[in-house]
Symmetry: C2
Subunit: 84 residues, 2 copies
């Protein structure tokens, strides 16, 4: 099924202006908000493709997602400055 | 246009197993990865809906997105522990 929904650039890219992003994480929650605290010097990689098996952390699931639909989403990397 | 793409639960929800998530942020980039450093005691709210005008930070664009397609995505809130 490759017809673009709202606006489509190529017939192969499934592209929808407002397609749902999350189809597996806490689907019963009205809004999935995660909070996390980093210790000084700590670094974590967070998922932004909503397909990670270790959500909210990244497990590289974006690679498969990007390949499947021509997307270009990647993780957020946050670190806490080292204590001086 | 309300026909579900790959799998659909309700006729009103546009739901695609592998629809693109990002249709506005750094579209020329092969993969959008952001890094950020927090100072001790600092807290930031990061976008995960790929619709924020202040990406990678959240500007509540997820509210409109969730309303438009029945999604439930929300931001990631990270803080760096206060220096002892």
């Amino acid at each position: 099924f490759t017809t673009p929904l709202a606006t489509g650039r190529t017939s192969t890219a499934i592209f929808a202006e407002d397609a749902k992003i999350n189809n597996m994480i806490d689907l019963d929650s009205p809004k999935v908000v995660n909070t996390d605290t980093l210790e000084a010097g700590e670094k974590k990689v967070y998922c932004r493709c909503w397909k990670s098996g270790t959500f909210p952390l990244c497990d590289a699931a974006h690679v498969e997602h990007n390949k499947a639909c021509g997307d270009n989403v990647g993780p957020l990397i946050v670190d806490a400055a080292k204590a001086e």
